[in-house]
Amino acid sequence: MTQEMIGLLLDQEHPLTLGELSRACSMHADWVLELVEEGILEPLNPEVPRLQFSGQNLHRALIVRRLQQDLGVNLSGAALALQLMEEVETLRARLNAMSCR
């Protein structure tokens, strides 16, 4: 029998620190700060270096890392791709809901 594990839900009360987010992406903290500068990540508070991030920021950061490494896009390109991908995802969900009717 595997034991049930209880993890920590990274919500508003349990954000990621700059260090945790960097490590989770296997990237340097400077890279995370560049993403903040570019407006890709939005820290919950503005106090550098004690920045805190919601869990959704990890999702975005990981996509940007993969786009950079796999496709060689620069940061503003990755930011644009991410924004368009999120729009496509919303539209796709609406389309699915409509065709399910």
Binding site: T2, L58, R66, L67, D70
Partner: protein, 317 residues
């Protein structure tokens, strides 16, 4: 073992220049990148292309691959000739793709020894210790799980290096508590469930990303939920109190008279629960009763005669 025709995989000529190979790779990578592409086999294709590019972009590996001969066809049973790589010098250099364990046996046989895990081998020696890498996985749940909480089993495949130095995939199953109130894209962190530490370093963490399975009726956006609700023409026209399903059970909803199709109504706090719960949005969709009996046809004819209704009045006809 099957022979892999890397030129065919990338759709380039055997005489293609390095620039042409790079362009072909970039194009295919954008097409099949798992974050971008919705093609079913995107991930497998992306790995295949990455493997092909790993060989063809590197003149040393490409030359060694080329001298296997042009007579091999994709999928043909293949054994490398002994000393096939004699006389080639590989200067190493890790994988740009980073994930060597996902490459095929074919690649592993040809280039595995020289290239495996550049920078990945730690002697576990004195004075050096490092926290293990954090790992990431997705956990698929149903929307209802976000309302009730649940326990979900997930199976993870993690590449590991065995005693003999081979990269093998180990499978393990975790039972994870999904707390009430989670929504799409949230992360659950399991401390110490990532990669083992090095030289006595701490184990990395495992991050689980919440993803909802598509639902038959509901669509979630953040903490809010959307439902397309069919209503009868008389319910929309005259107003009505009707039953509406919500993931937490049916509720009563009052529809105002003269509602139209597409009208959006909000049930405050009926979305995903939490300290600040989301809302449930209902979008009215007027369903037409079929005219499949004499009685129904008669009713429609009566409406036609007595209502003087032109649905195209706004279109000027």
């Amino acid at each position: 073992m099957e022979f892999k025709d890397y030129y065919e995989l990338m759709g380039v000529d055997k005489n293609a220049t390095q620039d042409e190979i790079k362009r072909a790779y970039r194009k295919l990578a954008r097409k099949y990148h798992p974050d971008v592409s919705k093609e079913k086999d995107a991930e497998a294709r992306f790995k295949e292309i990455g493997e092909a590019y790993e060989v063809l972009k590197d003149p040393e590996k490409r030359a060694a691959y080329d001298q296997l001969g042009a007579n091999w066809k994709s999928g043909q049973d293949f054994q490398p000739p002994p000393d096939w790589d004699a006389g080639f010098e590989f200067s190493g250099g890790g994988f740009t793709g980073g994930d060597a364990s996902s490459y095929s046996d074919f690649f592993e046989t040809l280039f595995g020894q020289q290239f495996k895990g550049g920078g990945q081998q730690y002697s576990g020696g004195r004075g050096f210790s490092m926290q293990g890498e954090d790992h990431h996985a997705k956990v698929l749940i149903d929307l209802e799980d976000a309302f009730n909480g649940a326990t979900r089993s997930i199976t993870l495949h993690a590449p590991q290096v065995d005693e003999a130095g081979h990269v093998v995939t180990r499978e393990r199953t975790l039972k994870v508590r999904i707390p009430k109130g989670v929504y799409q894209g949230q992360q659950i962190r399991l401390s110490g469930q990532g990669a083992p530490g090095i030289g006595g370093g701490k184990q990395g963490d495992l991050y689980l990303e919440i993803e909802f399975r598509p639902h038959k009726y509901y669509r979630a956006e953040g903490k809010d939920i959307y439902l397309d609700l069919p209503v009868a023409p008389w319910e929309a026209a005259l107003g009505a109190k009707i039953k509406v399903p919500t993931p937490a059970g049916a509720v009563d909803l009052k529809i105002p008279a003269n509602s139209t199709s597409g009208k959006k109504m909000r049930l405050k706090g009926r979305g995903i629960p939490g300290k600040k719960p989301g809302d449930l949005y209902i979008i009215l969709n007027i369903a037409l009763p079929p005219a499949d009996t004499d009685k129904a046809k008669e009713l429609y004819r009566k409406m036609e005669q007595e209502l003087a209704f032109n649905p195209r009045a706004d279109l000027g006809v």
